[in-house]
Each structure stands twice: as structure tokens, then as C-alpha cells.
Amino acid sequence: MPSPSYILTRLLQIIPTFLFIMVVVFVLVRLLPGDPASAILGERATDEAVERINRQLGLDQPIPVQFVIFLERFFEGDLGNSIHLKIPVVRLIGERLPVTLMLTAYAALLALLLALPLAFIAALRRDRGADVVIRGAFQVGLSMPVFYIGLVLLTIFAARLRWFPVGGFGETLGDQLYHLFLPALTLALSLSAVLMRNLRASIIEVLGAEYVDFARAKGLRPRIVMARHVLRNALISTVTLFGLSIGTLIGGAVITETVFAIPGAGRLMIDSIYGRDYPVVQGLTLVLAILVSLAFLITDLVQAALDPRIGR
């Protein structure tokens, strides 16, 4: 098990990381050509209108000054207001991020449920019928783009068969889980393909290891060999891969949220970047940076728990 000092060190490492991210995002988004006022006004923009709006937004100040103001407000818990939606960024993120997290978690769970058992079967029946079929099916899933899979599932299972609603989110928790099934499945398919291949290879490698032979030679029952020795060791690299994939899942959520009309943070991020909605981009990046850092930390801790060589 990882030592408390290891955990503490890793937690403290997050702080300078995301301060760095904050500065980079703050500056980068302002260096992009275009500004929120022009994005808002579009074809109707006149120079006076643009200047007036930029002034109201405090964007005529030099960038370092803006950053200081941003930090001051941040420590008061104020991430500013969305320039386009005119509501506080904190509230906006509070409404949209949980939806994306729910979708991502759901997708991660489905990916694991698909990948784990099938990886096992494929590994144990290596190069036989079941293995070939499983690998082939996942290969197909891996090659298709997310929006295509999403639309196909939507057309068949929602529009035609009416087993699921055509997109949208839902009101109660149960209703939401029902609405999110198809989008979560869409996201899960490519991730599960990657996880499956990795775990299968890992299991095959571990099965051939000396300590497994030794465990069998000791007379341990096959089930205990599997659980304590094979699975635990095979999962190490897959867990790492899984943790690293969280970022990809959130990225894939953008497309899925658009196709399935889900009010999540992925779409919010894209729209805000296009519209140069600086407060939302900054606020959302900050929150996502924290979440991804925590995800990496948890991945490291689980890895350390599985592998006693880490975390002393």
C-alpha cells in the first residue's frame, strides 16, 4: 500500500501543475485571433460597439493586469460570468460538468464490463475461435468514428426500434441513466477495444511468467492463482492505460454530447472556445485540470496498491 507521505507528496504536486496550466490557458486564449465582442456581434459589429463591449468586459487592460484581477476573484470563489450566457461560470459548470462526468463514468464502467471478461476469455482461449471473434469485433468498433457509431445506434435502437429515447438527458436519476445508455455505449466502444487488447496481452504475458508456474506447482487452486497472481499483475498496465484514457473519454464526450443532444461540459467547452468566452474557457479548464490530476493520482495510487514495488 502506498505510504501516507507518498500520497501527500502527490497531492501537493497538483498545485504548481495547475497554476502553470492556468497561466498558460489564460494567456493562450487571449492570444488567439479574435475577441468575444466580435464573436458576439458577428456581421453587425461596428468598431464602437466592439470597443464598448470589450471595455465593459475589462479586456482593454494589459494581460498581466487581467490575470491578477482573475486571481483575486478566484480566491473569493468567483470565476466571473460567461460572456455569452451572462450567468456565473461557477453555476454554469455546476450545471453542465456533472452531466459529462456522469456520462464519462457510465462509459468507463461499460467499457470495463465489456473489456474485462472478454479479455479473459480471449486470453485463455488464445488463437482459438472465441479469441478471433472477440478481437475481430473490437477491431471493427475501434475503426469507426465516434459520431458514426453514435448516429447508427441512435437510428436503429432509438428512432426505429424505440427501445431508447432519441437523445436528450432526462429528469430523474433513473430516467437519466436510461437516456445516457446509448451515448455511454458509444463512448465505451472504442475505449473497451483498447482496454481489451491491452489486458489480453497482459494476461497472456503473465500466464507465462515463472511465479505463476511456481504458484501452480505449490498446488494452489486455479481460481486463487487467477485472482491473486494473474489478475492482479495483469491489471497493472491496464489500470495505467485506463487512467490515461480518462482524458480521451472526456474529449470523446464532446462529439457524443452533440449527437445525442446532452447538455454537458464538452459542448460548452467547444462553444466557448469558438465564441472566445474567456471566463468559461478558463473556469472549465481549471476544473477539468483538477479532475484529470485527481484521476491520475488515483490511477497512481491504485497502481501502487497493486504493485508493491511502487509507493514506498
Binding site: D35, S38, I40, R44, A45, T46, K86, G167, V259
Partner: protein
């Protein structure tokens, strides 16, 4: 006997008359699929079509656009007169109008709403009524506008959404120190005189409007509008998903149907595919300044080059390729649905020989290279540019297509650091002044940032802004359009309608050329 006959005749006429009228059925909810959510439901501080196009359901203006967009009708004002010298407008207010909370609409509310709308510090629409010097209450039923100068656009301007009448007392009671803060607070639960009132809003997902029991306008059945109990807007950004939801019956209607799907939905017996005439024009902006940003001479500064480029484009082909035949080639820089639009047939009919001849008369006879900014990911813009690229290759003109995101393109464009870009425009007012001030008039934004500066047109426009004689004004606009279209500072392409698909059972939905969605007279056949 005569009396009995009269009574019998009257009875027959009454029942016969009502039997001929459509049997409007009241009640029900219409779920309408939108491509994007509203941002701010305040008439003065909003800045996007997504808000403008549904305002008419919550708020009313003093004057309204007719369904075909060509005339003006009474709204909250039943009559209006303009003084002979054009500096005073007298409006008679409709009696008995109430806000959705039951309070009466008074002349105070009207004065306050107009003063707020014309405040130069508030929002971006105040310029439309900048000619108003003061708003006065002559008596509880009459409002007088004193203008700084005669303004032929003031009456159409009173039909624009930013002059909607709002409840002063309720608004001022909203939390917030500045007007903008109050607007944002009040807009969370807006109250107006419109046919519907706001019920709930889950941002990004769903907005629900319910019948306003105090609405003033009567339906054909003699009872107050609207016919529907409620309208629910569902936000579905992906076109394919939105259409799927409509076809599966989960939506009563869906807006912004891609042109490629119009024919398919038209053929579906369960779907009513509507194409409402709009004011949307699509064109290519050119930088016509004598020199390019890097100092080299600009081929687009030569009027013959521009004319040649226009002649070399087969507009009908582009209409087919991009709009699948739904659009129409442009007859002017403004849409044919704009009042005073010149309607003398499509501009620059396709003629490659003529184009080559014209180009041959210039110093650019051997061709040249020019680049255009297209919006990355926009299938329509890429399609237009690819077709134009092919057509211009016949002249030896090489078009380079650069795909960028909107904000990047806007920055280049506004600073004059561009050669060409894809553009489009939709009117906000039933008058040619707005589009002309942006596209042909230099002082505002250098003629849509092209740099085209024509003294004659500038002068004509300034005159037309104070010309009260409708015929004289029409003549001025005829001239402005003639000059602009012959000098061709833009590449004219096409105008398109608004494609809205509805279930066959949905009747009475209308979208005016300005884009406003009217649900007041919509009903569902059960």
C-alpha cells in the same frame, strides 16, 4: 314573414359561415426542436438571433410586421400618424392590455421601455431608434415621439424586437445595481404581454412557455390567443438527431433543416416541409482597396475584374450544389423580401465569354491568385468555394481556400487583412436602411469592410435617411442598388428561405422574413 325570412337567412349565413372556416382545435403542447439555446431573454441587451427569433412569443411591440414582411400592422398601438414635417409621431395605445401577471400596461410602461431601448449605453440595438429625441405621454392612451430629424425608418423600427414593451414596475423591482444586471435577473423569469409566458428553462436542454391568460389578441374563434396550451423548446444541435427526433414523432416541429434533407422530408407524408421566405442573403465579400495588406497591387480593386468574376460564376449551379435548389440567385445585395429591393432579375447571368473579355481589358488578363477565408467545418461554405474555384479557373484565376474558425476570420476581416471571405446577412428590420448602411455605405463599417467608398451612394443614403416621400425614397434606393450592383464590390450568390419541418398535424406556424417564429396562431389537429 319577412322577419322570419331574415332571421332564417341570418341563421343560415352564420352556421354556413362557420362550417366553411377551418375547425381550429385548442389545447395541447407543441415540442419544437431548436438548433441552439437562447442566451438572454432581454429585448435590449440580447445580441443573438437565437433570442430575437422567439421574443415575439413573450413580448409585443407597438407595431408589428405583417406575415409576409412587406407591411406593418397594429400591435400594442392601434393607430399612428406622422406629422407633416416628419418630426413627430403620435401613437394611440391599445386599450385593456395586461401583462402576463395580470397588471395593466400603461403609457408609463411604454415610455419607459422606449427610453430604455434607445439609451446609447444599453446594448447594441439602440441605433435603430437613435432619431428619437424624447418620448412623451400626451394622455393615458397616447404616446408622442419627438424626433431629432425626419426619419422614414422610425415606423418599421417600432416593429423591431428591441422596442418591445416591458413592465416597468416589475423590472425595476428585479435585483441588480445596473440596468444590465437587472436585465439578467429579470430575464430569468421574463413577463410581457405576448401570447405565451415563461414557465421554466433548463439551459442547454429545454425551455417551456405556457399560455398567457391575459393576452389581448383574439383568435378566429373569438377567444383569446394562443390556441396552444404550451410550447416546449428542445435544444438539439446536431441536424441529423433533430430530424430523427421529428420523424420518430418526439418533436412537433424542427427548425434549420439542412437543404440536403428538404426533398426527403417533403416526400414524407407525415411531415409538412415548409420553406418560409426569408431575408437571408449569402455572398462573398471582397477587399477592394487599391493595395493588398502586403503592399502589392490588388486585382480586386479594378471594377472590371470584379464584374468578370461575377459573370464567371454560374449562380444556378451553385444554388443546386449548395442549396439543392431551395435558394434563388440574388437580384441585389439585399434579399428580394426586403422593402424597396430591386427586382430586375438575377445579377450577372453566367457568361464565361463576357467574363474573359472583361478581364482581357484589364492588366490582370493573364489571371492572378486570390485567397478566401471559409469557416472551418462549414459544408456550405466549402461547397461554394470549391465550385467558385473551379469556375474561376476558366479565367486563369486561382482561388486558395483557407479554413479558419469564426473568431479568427472576424479579426482578419475587421482589420482589412483579408482578400475575400464567405458572408451572409439577415435583416433585423423591415426596411432597406440597415443592410445598406452595412453593405454599401462607407462610414459605418467601410461597406462590409470591403473598403468600397462611393461618394454618390454615401450621399444618397444620407439623404434617404431623412426622406419622407416614399416615392422619392424608393427612387434613391433604386439608384443606390444600381450603382452598387454595377460596381460589384461583392460576389452576389443567392438568398434562401427558412426550412422548418413540422408534423402534418401542426397548423398555423409561421416564420416572418426577419426570422421571428410566431407560435401565437399555431394549433394541433388531433
Amino acid at each position: 314573414m319577412k322577419k322570419l325570412a331574415t332571421v332564417a337567412l341570418a341563421a343560415a349565413l352564420l352556421t354556413g359561415g362557420s362550417a366553411a372556416a377551418p375547425a381550429i382545435e385548442r389545447g395541447g403542447d407543441l415540442t419544437f426542436g431548436r438548433y441552439a439555446d437562447s442566451l438572454l431573454l432581454d429585448p435590449v441587451w440580447n445580441d443573438a438571433n437565437v433570442d430575437i427569433w422567439i421574443f415575439t412569443n413573450l413580448y409585443d411591440t407597438l407595431i408589428r410586421s405583417s406575415p409576409d414582411g412587406k407591411d406593418l400592422e397594429p400591435g400594442l398601438a392601434t393607430e399612428w400618424t406622422v406629422s407633416d414635417d416628419g418630426t413627430e409621431v403620435t401613437l394611440t395605445l391599445r386599450e385593456g392590455v395586461k401583462f402576463a401577471d395580470g397588471s395593466d400596461m400603461t403609457a408609463e410602461d411604454v415610455k419607459w421601455s422606449l427610453d430604455r431601448a434607445r439609451n446609447p449605453e444599453y446594448g447594441i440595438w439602440n441605433g435603430l431608434i437613435a432619431s428619437i429625441d424624447s418620448v412623451e405621454i400626451a394622455d393615458p392612451g397616447t404616446i408622442v415621439l419627438k424626433l431629432k430629424h425626419p426619419d422614414p425608418t422610425i415606423i418599421p423600427a417600432l416593429a423591431v424586437f428591441n422596442t418591445a414593451i416591458m413592465p416597468k414596475a416589475l423590472y425595476e423591482a428585479a435585483p441588480g445595481a445596473t440596468d444590465q444586471e437587472k436585465a439578467e435577473a429579470f430575464a430569468q423569469h421574463p413577463i410581457g404581454t405576448g401570447p405565451f409566458m415563461f414557465e421554466s428553462w433548463e439551459r442547454g436542454t429545454r425551455m417551456r412557455l405556457v399560455r398567457n391568460p391575459h393576452h389581448w389578441e383574439m383568435g378566429e374563434d373569438g377567444k383569446p390567443l394562443p390556441y396552444l396550451d404550451s410550447v416546449t423548446f428542445e435544444i438539439i444541435p446536431d441536424d441529423a438527431t433533430r430530424i430523427l427526433k421529428l420523424k420518430s414523432g418526439e418533436l412537433g416541429g424542427a427548425e434549420f433543416i439542412p437543404f440536403a434533407r428538404v426533398a426527403e422530408l417533403d416526400a414524407d407524408p407525415n411531415i409538412d416541409m415548409q420553406l418560409f421566405p426569408g431575408t437571408r442573403v449569402t455572398y462573398l465579400t471582397m477587399n477592394v482597396r487599391p493595395q493588398l495588406p502586403d503592399g502589392s497591387p490588388n486585382p480586386l480593386s479594378d471594377v472590371k475584374v470584379r464584374q468578370a468574376l461575377n459573370y464567371a460564376i454560374d449562380k444556378n449551379a451553385i444554388v443546386q450544389i449548395v442549396t439543392y435548389g431551395v435558394g434563388k440567385p440574388s437580384q441585389s445585395y439585399m434579399s428580394s423580401t426586403t422593402p424597396l429591393a430591386r427586382l430586375e432579375g438575377p445579377l450577372y447571368p453566367y457568361d464565361v465569354e463576357k467574363a474573359k473579355a472583361l478581364l482581357g481589358e484589364t492588366e490582370w488578363a493573364d489571371g492572378f491568385e486570390v485567397s478566401i477565408y471559409a469557416l472551418a467545418g462549414s459544408a456550405d461554405e466549402i461547397a461554394i468555394d470549391s465550385a467558385v474555384q473551379q469556375m474561376w479557373s476558366q479565367l486563369g484565376v486561382k482561388l486558395n481556400i483557407e479554413q479558419v474558425d469564426n473568431a479568427t476570420r472576424t479579426e482578419h476581416y475587421r482589420s482589412g487583412d483579408f482578400q475575400m471571405r464567405n458572408s451572409s446577412w439577415t435583416n433585423d428590420i423591415n426596411d432597406p436602411s440597415q443592410i445598406t448602411s452595412y453593405m454599401a455605405y462607407y462610414p459605418l463599417i467601410q461597406s462590409v469592410h470591403s473598403g468600397w467608398n462611393n461618394d454618390e451612394v454615401n450621399k444618397l443614403f444620407d439623404q434617404s435617411q431623412q426622406e419622407l416621400d416614399p416615392e422619392a425614397r424608393a427612387a434613391q434606393y433604386e439608384q443606390i442598388q444600381e450603382i452598387q450592383t454595377s460596381e460589384a464590390p461583392i460576389i452576389y450568390l443567392y438568398e434562401t428561405p427558412y426550412p422548418v419541418a413540422l408534423q402534418e398535424s401542426v397548423e398555423g406556424f409561421h416564420q416572418i422574413p426577419l426570422g421571428n417564429n410566431i407560435f401565437a396562431k399555431t394549433w394541433i389537429e388531433k
